[in-house]
């Protein structure tokens, strides 16, 4: 409250600085949004349009990229295609214009589902474990509390990929290689330290008196945690969940190393499209666009909580 009032004052006192700030923010937004817009646009272009020079701003939109992303196709002679008769589906029609026929679904849908399952699964676990650990660390006398907290934090001090080889060997021995369970465990392990630290800050901010009041009013400790503490942690949990989700969703190196068929996620799959049938930019862009979508949706849905959460309690309610 106080903070925003102050900022307003500074802004009012100098119209020029307000303008400069506005211009910088707009410029920054453009710079970051441009590539995204370009990817989305490319996903609706036909392959020739996507590589034409000069690049086309105005073009005839087509779903060819998306069709190519979701299907396997093979090139056929004109006579063969004529013999097949008229196309039965809208996507057959698009494909035949390039003298091809659909031979089956591609593996993208499966990979995408893997990403969702692993990403959200590990985020859920990390947040649940993190919340409980953070509450424990914040409220109870835990032997060696400081050392434990430091140890948890220290797992983030090196890049996770530094332990790639041991994890690869361990997973092979345990049969966790290329399984969704293995990836969920891995991402949860990486995220839980971040979750504990972020969430402990939020729990520390909640006065103990709320729980004391609930305890006296007749709740058990666990009920007080669920009914009184959790609702007040919403913003913190939302912010933490987004951070965890973004990490798990974007993670590339471990996914490439530990998964191949079964549990492969979207990040290592999308570049593989490039290798499959020449440079099919619209298909790659379509994959990227779809890949970006869940994070955008989650962020938009949680944006109110996030705004409060990301300031890390700096702004008093």
């Amino acid at each position: 409250m106080i903070r925003s009032a102050k900022m307003l004052k500074v802004g009012e006192s100098s119209g020029l600085s307000k303008w400069i700030a506005g211009i910088i923010v707009t410029f920054y937004a453009l710079v970051t949004v441009m590539p995204l817009l370009w990817i989305v646009a490319t996903s609706f272009k036909s392959p020739p349009d996507s590589i034409s020079y000069p690049p086309q701003i105005v073009f005839e939109p087509t779903l060819e990229g998306y069709v190519n992303l979701f299907t396997e196709r093979s090139r056929q002679t004109d006579e063969y295609i004529e013999k097949l008769g008229p196309p039965e589906t809208w996507y057959e029609e698009i494909v035949r214009e390039r003298n091809m026929v659909v031979t089956g679904p591609s593996r993208f849908a499966g990979r995408y589902w893997n990403s969702i399952f692993i990403g959200f699964g590990s985020t859920f676990l990390a947040v649940v474990l993190g919340t409980m650990a953070a509450y424990g660390f914040s409220r109870f006398k835990v032997p060696l509390k400081d050392d434990l907290l430091f140890f948890i934090l220290s797992t983030r001090m090196m890049p996770p990929i530094a332990v790639a080889i041991p994890i690869y060997l361990m997973y092979r021995e345990l049969g966790l290689s290329d399984t969704a369970l293995g990836m969920i465990i891995l991402y949860t392990a990486v995220n839980v330290s971040l979750a504990v630290w972020l969430l402990k800050g939020f729990v520390d901010e909640i006065p103990r008196e709320y729980e004391d009041a609930a305890l006296i009013d007749g709740y058990s400790r666990f009920q007080a945690f669920i009914k009184v503490v959790l609702p007040q942690m919403k913003a913190g949990i939302a912010a933490t969940a987004i951070f965890c989700l973004i990490f798990a969703w974007n993670e590339y190196a471990f996914a490439l190393l530990l998964t191949s068929g079964n549990a492969q996620t979207a990040p290592p799959f999308i570049p593989a499209i490039i290798g499959e049938g020449g440079l099919d930019w619209p298909a790659v862009s379509a994959g990227t666009t779809l890949f970006l979508l869940p994070i955008v949706i989650v962020t938009v849905v949680l944006r109110n909580q996030l705004l409060r959460g990301i300031t890390f309690g700096a702004v008093r309610k």
Binding site: P207, E209, Y210, D212, A213, A214, L215, I216, D217, G218, Y219, S220, V228, P231, Q232, K317
Partner: protein, 365 residues
């Protein structure tokens, strides 16, 4: 409603003793105030009564029943917290009705009770609002409502007015006391503000460093503090302490101080240590030319019909509350007279009061 009996209650955190061997009984329907400086263990004692803290040793009885180790939820005690601890995600009526909801009281009965309590506290018009936008006074009332709604055996309040503005505090003080008169619930009220304590309490319990020093009615505690600390802590401006000669037999009626001799209530007890303190409240010293002690006026502060005169004497700086028709100004050399019957003598070593005619044989030094 019920009495609360505390026996030899102790709480230690590691080596640190937060509460030391406390014993006292809070009567049924009494407004009992625990008073002491910050960190003296008031909150810790209260939390042990509430069941939020487990005592290291000792016993607590509520209405004759031992509750020392039973969980807070089973004690039927209501607690009003300093920061009110209203649940921010609930409306006013949900906040007040919360304890009933936990107890499984039906929705209809809950509604009736909440409305009854709200009417009593005059907050029935804001029942539907969230607690976020309330003024601190209304928050205070909602917190009280949550305590009142449940027919608890006792009310515990930890500096419930601490978060209010000074001006509002006086008003709430009055309201709280009136409420208590009406409800008649056994109340334990914690504060570090002696004015608050004096104006509200039936009895005051003064604590220092985890120890109970004195339990008495406000006027008793004001007139007959049993220790130097209590004398100094209660009253504003505070009690003057004059260093005096010790080693006096019982029966003495005056004490030698630097620069004079001060008449005191007859001693019923000998002062065994070689030094003593004479405690004199500012209103028990008068400006008088033939006074026992002389000194130089350092400042004069007008306070309505009275004036506070600060005088430097050989016994240190003394505060005198005198009628303001006596003309005095800074720099004047004045004589001071003491109201002999009202003076308290403390042992120089133990700082406990010495039994005298003032105590009438009741002090145990």
């Amino acid at each position: 409603m019920a009495t609360i009996e505390i026996q030899n209650l102790c709480k230690t955190y590691g080596d640190f003793v937060a509460v030391r061997e406390s014993s006292f009984t809070i009567q049924d329907g009494e407004f009992f105030v625990m008073l002491g400086p910050s960190g003296c263990g008031k909150t810790t004692t209260l939390r042990m009564i509430a069941g939020l803290e487990v005592p290291t040793a000792g016993h607590i009885h509520l209405g004759g029943e031992e509750i020392t180790y039973s969980p807070g939820s089973q004690r039927n005690i209501a607690f009003v917290f300093q920061l009110f601890a209203l649940y921010p995600h609930m409306s006013v009526q949900d906040n007040i009705g919360f304890p009933l909801k936990v107890q499984g009281v039906s929705r209809k009965e809950r509604k009736n009770k909440v409305e009854e309590v709200a009417r009593m506290l005059q907050i029935d018009h804001i029942l539907k609002q969230g607690v976020g936008g309330l003024s601190s006074g209304d928050r205070q009332r909602v917190a009280l409502g949550r305590a009142l709604v449940r027919d608890a055996q006792a009310f515990l309040m930890d500096e419930p007015l601490g978060a209010l503005d000074a001006e509002f505090r006086d008003l709430m003080c009055e309201e709280l006391r009136l409420l208590h008169n009406r409800v008649g619930a056994t109340t334990v009220y914690v504060t570090h503000d002696q004015v608050e304590a004096m104006s509200m309490a039936d009895r005051i319990c003064v604590m220092e460093k985890g120890e109970v020093l004195q339990i008495a009615t406000p006027d008793e505690i004001y007139a007959r503090p049993t220790s130097k600390f209590v004398g100094g802590f209660i009253g504003s401006p505070s009690m003057n302490f004059l260093p005096a000669q010790g080693g006096i037999d019982s029966g003495a009626k005056s004490l030698a101080v630097k620069g004079g001799e001060v008449a005191i209530p007859e001693m019923y007890q000998a002062i065994t240590s070689d030094s003593a303190w004479i405690g004199a409240r500012p209103e028990h010293i008068t400006l008088s030319d033939q006074g026992a002690l002389r000194g130089e006026t350092v400042s004069v502060e007008y306070m309505g019909s009275r004036q506070l005169v600060v005088v430097d004497t050989e016994c240190g700086r003394l505060r005198v509350r005198s009628d303001n028709h006596i003309p005095v100004k800074t720099g004047d050399n004045v004589g001071l007279d003491f109201d002999a019957d009202a003076l308290v003598v403390f042992d120089g070593h133990t700082e406990k009061a010495i039994d005298s005619a003032l105590f009438g044989g009741t002090a145990h030094g």
